[in-house]
Amino acid sequence: MKKTFTTKEIINKGLLAGAVVLSLSVIGFIALLAERELIKGWFSLGHIFLVASPFAFAYVTTRDMEYEGNAKPLQTGFIIGAVASIPLIVLSFLAVAIDIRQFLSNVSPALIELLTFGQTPVLGSILLLLLFGIIGVFAASFNIIPENIRHPLVNALVWTLGIATFSEILLSRVRSLLGRGLVKVIFSGKSLNPIFAIVFFAAVFGFTIWWDKRGDSFKEKLENLAPAKRKQLSQGQSILLMLVILFLPLILGSYLTEVANNVGIYILMGLGLNIVVGFAGLLDLGYVAFFAIGAYVMGVLTSEGALGLDAGFSFWTALPISVIVATLFGIVLGIPVLGMRGDYLAIVTLGFGEIIRVVAVSDLFKDTLGGAQGILQIPKPEFFGIELVQPGELYYVVLAGVLLAVFIATRLRDSRLGRQWMALREDEDVAEAMGMNLVSTKLMAFATGAAFSGLSGAIFASKLTSIFPHSFNLLISINVLSLIIVGGVGSIPGVFVGALVLVGLPELLREFAEYRLLIYGVLLIVMMLVKPEGLLPDQRKKRELKSEAELDWAEK
């Protein structure tokens, strides 16, 4: 739906964009991100977030604009950008005039320097206004330039900014894999070398143009291959993928492998919660309880400290017991909530999650669970006498768990039980009228979900070698639920994507940690508006949302 905008509406959009960037500034987000320099001497991640809001507003407004008549998209973009700078200009003048940090403690001199480019307030303000205006024009131009230039441009921008953002991590990997010589060419300090950035940008740009032109004929060639050849090719691809997964720790190095392990722990939990929420449609907000139970059983059984049972349990014998105990608790929680639906179920499960944590922290079981001090000296897993200590070794334990869980989840989804869950999710009454036993169907969902989480908790305990009750708070449940939503409810590959985005990325962007919840909130809102079906949705879910859109259309 294209529409025309009046000047007043355009100015309003600009002020809105300005309000967004102003709030990002006064909470200290921009100044913090400014510490991560992207391209040496040019700009930092703070600059990117500074211009992100005017860029987005200018882009969206000019995209929805009616181009007929006397509309001028570039001019509109400039106005939105320029207007967006006004709140920041006011802020920098205020900072000079009064002691603003009394009220807004995050408006630091560093932030003001960033906003005025180190110049005097007047000159700095003009520069900022011009910069924002140019950004607005730039954003608007994306709607005008032809697709065969836009696509390479977007690709080159995203890739260049991407590697620049993660340059510190990339630097250490390049150094250990490819040698110091290359490091000097690509990086300068901890950020990207400007010359390399330009070359890289141009290379991606050129490659995309070539690919867009040649890609079609290449794809045709691929499709014209004999079926046997094509099968070979796809087999080759899967073998390659397996090899990459198998040797991933060698490529990633120990820090990134540790991140991958954390992501893996969350993937395991996500796969389990995906069964409860995604397949069976039972909203469980206390999912961390089973994670905690798995971890505590592993801790109590194997700890070599004062609290351990000292009964000679190894990681491998304690692992199935942890899973079984978590499963039993899954059923125990399931029984009282059998008759509950929707919101009520969510509230009761939320309570259950808290009860488990409070019990663990209380003095009631201090002698066995250690109260607030937790359980220490949990041994790492052993494999034929080799203790798995390094992240690169533990990786394989996590990987085995994830592969097992993916296999089970996929098979369950396509089974008779999977169908029962699907019917249960759609309509409980009709499912019962079809001859399905709701009691066993629900309990199976809770039990299976709890088993996955218990497995995850057991591995977690052994990986960390010590557990504390405060690691099992509500936030973990929320995290797991969010990653399912972001990935796509009910989608197994979606769990992987969700975990990478919500667990992996914040780990790599340590600056974000403080603002993690803010980012989660914004991300979830944006997801619901832009892509409610998730990043990698389940086929059925996609069809459902599509059919709803068709319905809306039919009604109009």
Binding site: R419, Q420, M422, A423, E426, D427, D429, V430, A431, E432, A433, M434, G435, M436, N437, L438, R540, R543, E544, S547, E548, E550, L551
Partner: protein, 237 residues
């Protein structure tokens, strides 16, 4: 012995006494209808028979067995099927998936395939829309789907709750024709309807419910001519 014998059942919603001693029988091969105004207890009677509600007093016997307290999902295996009020199709699943869910209680593949053919013969519209998402069907098509889905359990007794609700008159005719067809093929039918005229024109016998009690019971043709029924339910003076 009758296929279904309901004897003096009392059903409560909490403290509300909804059914105050309902007795009725359904013989094999019949179409029996329950008619009555809103809130008379028609749906409650069906839900009690199908096991979704449990009566506090009274007995229900089906095929010679006492079924009070048997959960609803088990009764499906005893070849008793229900089409719930408001149709209740799985809105997000396709027509085919809905029908497959209907055959959940069975594992005879040949029989399922046969019944699927039968349903498609009865409702050719469903065959055309096999892959469509059920929520996008029209009201009449959804009623066909819900009925077809119940048939996939190959029931001996099929209970329908207000199949004409919210349908255009032309579709009401089609749905009732299908009910007669299903009955001819050997399925016994217990039909709850507000559209008393339609229901009585296809039924063998009818029961009239009023505030949780049966006030009248007769052959359908007799009921149609009954002065009180004509006045209260058929809108005649």
């Amino acid at each position: 012995m009758a296929m279904l014998e309901v004897n003096d059942i009392h059903t409560y919603y909490g403290n509300i006494h909804a059914l105050k001693g309902i007795s009725l029988t359904v013989e094999e091969g019949e179409i029996v209808t329950l008619i009555g105004a809103n809130g008379a207890g028609k749906t409650t009677t069906l839900r009690t028979i199908s096991g979704l509600l449990t009566p506090r007093e009274g007995s229900i016997s089906y095929l010679g067995k006492d079924i009070v307290g048997t959960p609803a999902h088990k009764l499906v295996y005893e070849k008793m099927a229900m089409v719930p009020e408001g149709r209740g199709v799985f809105a997000k699943l396709s027509v085919m998936e809905n029908l497959e869910m209907g055959s959940y209680s069975r594992d005879d593949k040949d029989g399922i395939a046969r019944d699927l053919e039968r349903v498609f013969a009865l409702f050719p519209r469903l065959k055309e829309r096999e892959k469509q998402v059920a929520g996008t069907l029209s009201g009449g098509e959804q009623q066909m789907l819900a009925t077809g889905r119940a048939m996939m359990a190959s029931p001996r007794l099929l209970m329908l709750d207000e199949p004409s609700m919210g349908l255009a008159p032309v579709l009401v005719d089609a749905v009732f024709d299908a009910i007669v067809e299903i009955n001819k093929e050997g399925t016994t039918i217990l039909l709850v309807e507000q559209n008393a005229l339609m229901a009585l024109s296809i039924a063998n016998r009818g029961y009239v419910l009023q505030t949780g009690q049966i006030v009248l019971h007769d052959d359908a043709a007799e009921l149609k001519n009954n002065e009180m029924v004509q006045k209260a339910y058929l809108g005649m003076d």
